[in-house]
Symmetry: C2
Subunit: 330 residues, 2 copies
């Protein structure tokens, strides 16, 4: 049995999802030889620390009843710097302008030789190269499947399962909110504004939907794929971005008459990163509806391999994090 | 650099594809620290042996011009038994009644402590449990991604990328020939017989199409998934099988009017393995056309993840074999 001491930094939906999954899967993990002992949990207001293992059930209840995980006045960065552990699970919120607290958190983790598994897109969309290099210098593992497409496992699919293939391009639907709005506009012959309102009522779109509907979220995911799979040194500014706010139900109906659906497609290949609305033939593997995410990987040997899955959800994202954790230590 | 001495046993389309890919990817493999040295190639008529590495270019030419790889009068089994090497790449033809030569080949490989990577369904559909146990007893690796769906990497997706998830069910289109015939019947409003004839002309269906169109091939793949993913002890006889030969264009048109397509769907979950025609809604991730294969994996954490890819082709199948090889030795 290998014991891995871990911290969970950031305890919103994803961090709580990780705690729930660790509780639920404790026995399964031990069956494959892994004892993941969470020695610290930090949110923006405080921290819970226990070198013998934090009681995750209690922390989850405390968070939900008191709004914070604990009374220790340590920040996430202080936890990463001062508490002995091997693995930082970084689930603080994405900030694509500055990288947010995630950026110093990850840098500090690597400087202390700790491994990082994260769902936080911001630092990777801004400073991927720097992070990857510091990780390498310190012999740290750096895994981030959860940053792109939640439970649609595109990065590990390419790196592990399609090993041996050269990757020619990746294209797909990387934002479930846009996919939902476009799918519903087509089904109901309704306007963008109507279906945005519906998706906000359902909690699929946020009150300020800009980040999703203007294609920014998809663009950040493309940047992470460009840097990690194509070894580019791109940031958000390198992406040619068009969102879905100008699409009319009339254009969707015209497409439908010709056997097409309209999807917000992100695309990355050598020297090209772009996201915008595109026509996709009905029956094509990319023509999936609802909130699903999908990515097609064009390879030299295996041809085109397409993967579809739920792009969001706290447990789904936690699943991607746990798979990354297992892949490091198994 | 790790040197792995390998044999290629069986040198039809897939074995030749492996040789071509090893030639093409020699530098890429060395870049990740792997020197795969093929010390023996055997077909049904002879063998080429060289402890310093067989010249694969010459062997490919010899096979195509002379119909065999070499003049050494060794069988595949004798190569496996008598030649020092670590890895047996077993690509002899599938025989689901007896297991063919693949079965004694794999058993001998494990008894000599060699690893096996294979595309041969027969031995796994008949004797999976026995093979897996002998491999384990001898500390051998046993990988067989290429047996199910060619370049649609379902097994490694589940075992590696979705690690941590419990698998509830797998369902999908596991036979590209049936998918092609059904897709074309729908497009052309044509009969099964007409579209079978077309697919035979195109080389998609074989002269005797029974193995594909009666669902036997899909059933064998389901058995492999049942045994390897669900830890069942199933054989082909445990599968409830219906093929596509009784499907009429009229029934496809009725389905289409209601927004459905008809697909030959294989399904495996605890205590159930079956394959038969089913209605799938247009726009559903399983509703892919042409010769594509697709599989949806229902999990407890990640929800449903669907993977689509080319189910056949010598280079595609070789790609799955090379990915398995990399996953063992990297």
């Amino acid at each position: 049995m290998k014991t891995i001491r871990a911290s969970i930094i950031g305890f919103g939906a994803v961090g709580q999802g990780v705690a729930e999954v660790l509780l639920q899967k404790d026995e399964n993990l031990k069956n494959i030889g892994l004892d993941i002992k969470v020695v610290a949990v930090a949110d923006s207001k405080g921290a819970a620390i226990d070198p013998n293992g934090v009681d995750l059930s209690k922390v989850l209840i405390k968070k939900r009843t008191e709004g914070t995980v604990g009374s220790e006045k340590l920040t996430g960065l202080e936890v990463i710097t001062n508490i002995d552990h091997e693995l930082v699970i970084e689930t603080t919120p994405t900030d694509i302008d500055t990288g947010g607290v995630g950026l110093p958190n990850m840098l500090a983790a690597f400087e202390h030789g700790r491994d990082v598994v994260t769902s936080n897109k911001g630092p990777l969309a801004l400073k991927y190269r720097e992070l990857a290099e510091i990780a390498k210098e310190n012999g740290s593992n750096f895994k981030f499947e959860a940053t792109v497409g939640g439970a649609m496992p595109i990065i590990n699919l390419i790196r592990d399962v399609l090993a041996g293939n050269d990757i020619i391009s990746i294209e797909g639907i990387l934002n479930g909110t846009c996919n939902y709005i476009l799918t519903r506009m087509m089904e109901e012959q309704a306007s963008y504004e109507q279906m945005l309102a519906e998706s906000q009522e359902l909690g699929i779109a946020e009150t300020d939907p800009t980040y999703d509907v203007e294609g920014i979220d998809a663009a950040c995911k493309l940047v992470i794929l460009a840097n990690s799979i194509f070894d580019m040194d791109a940031t958000y500014k390198n992406v040619d971005v068009t969102g879905i706010t100008k699409i009319t139900p009339e254009s969707l109906m015209l497409a439908q008459d010709d056997g097409f659906v309209v999807k917000l497609i992100g695309e990355v290949k050598k020297d090209l990163i772009r996201v915008g609305p595109r026509l996709v033939p009905v029956g094509h593997p990319l023509a999936v509806g609802g909130t699903l995410n999908v990515a097609s990987v064009q390879t030299d040997l295996a041809g085109t391999v397409t993967i579809t899955g739920r792009g969001a959800g706290s447990i789904e994202t936690a699943s991607a994090i746990i798979s990354d954790v297992i892949s490091i230590y198994r």
